[in-house]
Symmetry: D2
Subunit: 367 residues, 4 copies
Amino acid sequence: MNTFGQLFRVTTFGESHGAAIGAVIDGCPAGLKIDLALIAKEMARRRPGQSTITTSREETDEVEIIAGVYQNRTLGSPIALIIRNKDQRPADYEWLKNSYRPSHADFTYEKKYGIRDYRGGGRASARTTAAVVAAGAIAQQYLAQFKVISAAFVSQLGKSKWDLPSELKLVNAPNELKKLIAKREKSLVRCPDNIATKAMTAYLTELQAEGNTCGGKITTIINGMPIGIGEPIFGKLSAQLSAAMLSINAVHGFEFGSGFDAVSMTGKTHNDAFVIKNKQVQTATNNSGGILGGISNGMPIYFNVAFKPIATIKTEQLTVNSKNKPYNQKASGRHDPCAVPRAVPIVEAMTNLVLVDLMLQNKTARI
Amino acid sequence: MNTFGQLFRVTTFGESHGAAIGAVIDGCPAGLKIDLALIAKEMARRRPGQSTITTSREETDEVEIIAGVYQNRTLGSPIALIIRNKDQRPADYEWLKNSYRPSHADFTYEKKYGIRDYRGGGRASARTTAAVVAAGAIAQQYLAQFKVISAAFVSQLGKSKWDLPSELKLVNAPNELKKLIAKREKSLVRCPDNIATKAMTAYLTELQAEGNTCGGKITTIINGMPIGIGEPIFGKLSAQLSAAMLSINAVHGFEFGSGFDAVSMTGKTHNDAFVIKNKQVQTATNNSGGILGGISNGMPIYFNVAFKPIATIKTEQLTVNSKNKPYNQKASGRHDPCAVPRAVPIVEAMTNLVLVDLMLQNKTARI
Amino acid sequence: MNTFGQLFRVTTFGESHGAAIGAVIDGCPAGLKIDLALIAKEMARRRPGQSTITTSREETDEVEIIAGVYQNRTLGSPIALIIRNKDQRPADYEWLKNSYRPSHADFTYEKKYGIRDYRGGGRASARTTAAVVAAGAIAQQYLAQFKVISAAFVSQLGKSKWDLPSELKLVNAPNELKKLIAKREKSLVRCPDNIATKAMTAYLTELQAEGNTCGGKITTIINGMPIGIGEPIFGKLSAQLSAAMLSINAVHGFEFGSGFDAVSMTGKTHNDAFVIKNKQVQTATNNSGGILGGISNGMPIYFNVAFKPIATIKTEQLTVNSKNKPYNQKASGRHDPCAVPRAVPIVEAMTNLVLVDLMLQNKTARI
Amino acid sequence: MNTFGQLFRVTTFGESHGAAIGAVIDGCPAGLKIDLALIAKEMARRRPGQSTITTSREETDEVEIIAGVYQNRTLGSPIALIIRNKDQRPADYEWLKNSYRPSHADFTYEKKYGIRDYRGGGRASARTTAAVVAAGAIAQQYLAQFKVISAAFVSQLGKSKWDLPSELKLVNAPNELKKLIAKREKSLVRCPDNIATKAMTAYLTELQAEGNTCGGKITTIINGMPIGIGEPIFGKLSAQLSAAMLSINAVHGFEFGSGFDAVSMTGKTHNDAFVIKNKQVQTATNNSGGILGGISNGMPIYFNVAFKPIATIKTEQLTVNSKNKPYNQKASGRHDPCAVPRAVPIVEAMTNLVLVDLMLQNKTARI
């Protein structure tokens, strides 16, 4: 299944070192104005090589839209976009042909398919998320019509943490959010706090020197979500967000609203009283994270995503080869101490795909 | 979307106080022997009223299979099952007609659909998970052929915790797991540890007296999973499990393997070295939770699910009615201090649905 | 695949002599008023035993809606309906256990699934279309809001034919159509012409005496279809209608508009000139059958469906049993000379399912 | 819906005069050897400009596979292929910007989407079937493993007809079929009969001189189909074939086996007796066209498809423009008297897509 969504269906394709990666978006409503500069900007945000800390691969990631858009407007037909893989270095990966890197997907792909494009992880590479980011940038343009904004922030790297300001959980405050986004864009690690940014950067510098990597956490907030979005039972907004996040490479956990903290709370402290504010029904607290019964209630939506450390480390590791022989493997090639800052636009993209899909589904909720 | 699964498609239907709830399972392979007693047993496990602590509603939950099974074998045609709602007390819910209970789905359903079956939460009620449990019991019988066992345990209520024994994360040990299951079945709160059970029970008794409720955590282990199950990218085993879990009422979080702990780990400690044990490729540690790149690697799979406290509490709460007037609401009717023990068979059922669906999908992975 | 439709998804279930047959309709918009009497009326139209000619099985076909409707309005949740099989005579079918009736599905079901409910054809029986008719009656109520009417007529039995009046192909004329429907309802064979009805009836009487059966043709017209319904490429209105018709038991062909006559026509005679009539864009002729590029153009839609003769005949036939031994089979049990008149409400039901599904899909065509 | 198939899912994209057209095939089993020359050969068969009669547009139609294939084997990941539109002449289509050609999809696309790529019909152009042919060539390679061959022939143009030899309907005779295919490949009009070819060619030459066009009929035979392929009820092999055929531009009808002839047949003449031939269960006649209850019975499958005449004719026609003003339109640009010979590889491609999809689905029919 390489398709995400029911009505706004995004199918991605491509291997890390094949000719190209890309996506087909089927179901995008006709007449949407497409801003190519915005797509390019999002692609640049995901691209490795943005700082001395977070990357080494050079990818220019030019998106070519080859179908579905005419004179900058969507036609209602499938939007197809491709991104050529320019920085191909297949020779770098010959050592991978018959061996499995620990905590990578080499082993499971080989066993599942009996064949594997071992070059840079092939289909399992995070490279393929570039197509997701491009599709997400189109979804973002759909959401902009309704003033819905999703924004993700690095909220933890190692032991350094940052908390989403609680007022943003309680009020749809687009201007405050935009200020936070502006701060984030100045941070090498995509955390909107200066002090945390410094600590995180120092930590990554240290890990890079050691050839080590770290996990991290991303916190996302959705501002301006209309009421009623999300399909009950198996199409819950929370379930779709969760599936979207767990589709991202290296993600090991998802929680929304009170999340895992709810485990040790009681109903009396957890319940969100309904109140009237500005003549609208709102809730006094927002442990529900803006979602009740799987459906948006109009409050800000927020959730956390946990990432494991990148599996490629610069140290000798015990592993086996395709003949089941154990050996000590030393990874060659690129090393990136942390993928989490780069995952920020990916998290936003997947979030946007979920939101557009459920907003379109909601168009048929009533006669 | 009331259907779960791509090939083993389970569609549930029914409102809490309508005539019946039920499910249609389309795509179950023909020739599977159906043990009706096992279905009845699973239904009994989910049913409220099993102890003084965990329930008050009386539901007998008799499953009638009306299609798709002939002489106790599946025909390959859709399996339809219905469960009549016998304990209907619509009059109990008149007070709900024009009001929204805090942290329930009354408000969002009303806003989404413009109409609502207010009786006991209607479609949003946990009542509807009975159909899931019945479907899951059929999936369980499919899995039994391959000796795949999924088992869920209450691992936290309030501050009382229990940890899954680490050896069960490292070795597929069906006999050890069965012993743990046997212990769990003797626990009122479905925790396999005596001491934790006592503490949890005491906590629930206290909450019941206060008219309060609590959240909790369930830990699930899947034993005997073959290698290669799970579809890459948007059909990852981890993503499907996550979507399945977040589809369950009150679930606020999901993590597998190292989960949120991965956030503060490094690659050097997190990576699972491949080793040869019993002539098979295994991993020395299992932070990956048995899943690499979204595909099972043959190791035990384990994950945690966070539940928020039940929203129905016996205390006056601030809310609004359907005319946007604020008022103090005192819930009448049943009170259950904790839904988590009862959610154990639901978690297992949803897990089983995911596993069968992905095992069937895997049948077409290679030529 | 027992589900029809993308957004208005109808899943049917049930075997001819199992406990019940039924359907789940997922995706019906909330707030639709349901007229149970209309459903009962449609069920009665499909039911065998309506005349001395067209039937022998007695089925009362009471539809029980067990979910998704509250106080006669749809809730937006799945509508589940069941029809108990009351006239079960399994003993009548023991002779079928190990043999394959010519031109029936006994052989192919056995080979596909390795197991077969041989009682009356099991899942392959036309009995299961009762669930389709019930679902179609709900779709009909959706269409009624938009004044869309679909009506099917028997247009050929043996050599007796009837032609749809050409003015009905050229103008949306609901009143004229209703008159035709009224005439049809007085015809034993569901042909609106008295003379043709007499000839057809005589033919069926003759076939019944001989233990023989005949095929036939049904012509359907859709009146009042809005412009723009139908998805391009693989969701064409014409393709969906075709798939719907070929899903009906015994159907061997489908054609719309000029149909197979188009084969020997030229562009100059076939093209439909656009003209302005009543201030609207219409076409001067309607060889396109109201569909251009798979999308409705606002003209009446019409199509023909070919049915093969019922395979159950009262004569000895050469066949083989499940041990591949040839023998002469004499069918016992019921005999019906022609299923085509009874198929009229089934054709209408499937048509209605297509129309509602595509009308819902069209809600997301534009921003 | 631009996706065809449940498991072998082909999504096409592209407009006639956009940058490229293409397809993504998701669900193709891993390990299939891909013969690029075969794909090129099929593309050449579909391409216009192959004779003085059947074309005028020059398209080279080079297929570039950009994902899913590594070292000529499928990886199990999505296969993406693109075909650049080289012969773009947008200026040729300015006159189409504000007008609707009779019997084309200009009008319905405009009304549905509010926007239209008017260049050469945009998404509605038969140009987009090139992507289908490329995908079908991959499906063909899957079928070749099982010795399943589908072959289509022009069986009628104007009044000239050709009949599929009846022995090919009764016996799976691959060698005989291959001879017929070889004859067809020598025919300008893709009819395997010399005399018919001459008459058809003369007819097309005449139409071309007149600026006129004609419809036609294609007959397809599937040889070597295993028993048990096709899903009952809404996934019948016959229904899927029908939907596939009606998805092709200009198709107005589909019939399989006895087809519309069944209308005037009786059960006694129509029923296919089961017999044992070569130790296998076969049928003495094959009015069922190799399909019983929607499932293949092992006999040859055959069906007919009716095409309307190409709507682009070289004569003045009455039409309206986008301001609802009537005017006389004279089409400029290319003229092709008949699309039916060129549709032969498209019919085969769509047939192959159906067969592979249903063969994959069948892998999960039994435990």
